[in-house]
Symmetry: C2
Subunit: 158 residues, 2 copies
């Protein structure tokens, strides 16, 4: 009963290859900092304005400015000008499809923290609006089976 995956084909043994194109590493190049991921959390909560990001994430304004700029450059957020009647032009940051697609990462982190780092199972709950059932993140195969890490084979693609 191991938790490791099983390497197959050209990937076995592990000592015979380098994880050069590893997309976990590439993803971490984009969102490795705490502030970046917490800004993304806020974006999912509906925050759009500069000051709100800084305050709600609990980071200083210089850091918020730097992180928001990087996230826009990377295409996870987009900055739009908007204008309410009788107001000056303002900016808002909104999730792009690329940014919105990061949601499972945040939920996976939240669920792990709920289970292992909070004595009451976490402060908030996600429910499916249509049916009211709680939402979680899971691994499953295309045939619909729920899968644990120990039941997975890893192969080189293509």
């Amino acid at each position: 009963m191991t938790s490791t995956v099983r390497l197959t084909g050209a990937l076995e043994p592990r000592s015979g290859w380098k994880a050069e194109r590893c997309t976990i590493a590439k993803s971490l190049d984009v969102v490795s900092t705490r502030s970046a991921l917490l800004i993304m959390r806020e974006a999912f909560y509906g925050t759009t304005r500069f000051d709100d990001f800084a305050e709600r994430v609990g980071i200083s304004e210089p850091v918020a400015a730097a992180r928001l700029r990087e996230l826009v450059e990377e295409g996870l957020l987009e900055r739009e000008d908007y204008r309410e009647p009788g107001q000056r032009t303002r900016q808002q940051y909104r999730l792009t499809p690329k940014g919105a697609d990061l949601f499972p990462v945040l939920v996976a982190l939240m669920k792990w923290g709920d289970r292992w780092l909070d004595d009451r199972g976490g402060p908030i709950e996600l429910v499916h609006r249509d049916c009211g059932e709680p939402v979680s993140v899971s691994l499953h195969c295309a045939a619909g089976h729920e899968v644990a890490s120990g039941e997975i084979d890893v192969a080189r693609r293509g």
Copy 2:
């Protein structure tokens, strides 16, 4: 068609509360660094020895030592002495249940990178050993519906 979740009950409006017990933030306190998550990746690939972690992750030995020590302290890995016949006692690092449970986070990061950061859909593929079907990570509710971030209500627990 929004990608944000909908805040409900005491969570609405967002300006009325602080994410103090946020378990995303707590998780990031444990595994916010690139090196920590890549060490966990290697642990899932079956790596157990100090030198192998350092080389395969591509980090220096001092960093590997610091990160492994932290991950053991946090309970994600455990260090065991073992001895092969005719060999001296060695150490190995193995996943604990807490560490193994982090797997969905890594898969979510990998899948996101596969989709958005690699022109060929990622270098490796995960398949369910029993049925040979590809494995992915997804959000779904307890009733089995696949759910997108825009279809989720967030409520305070308890």
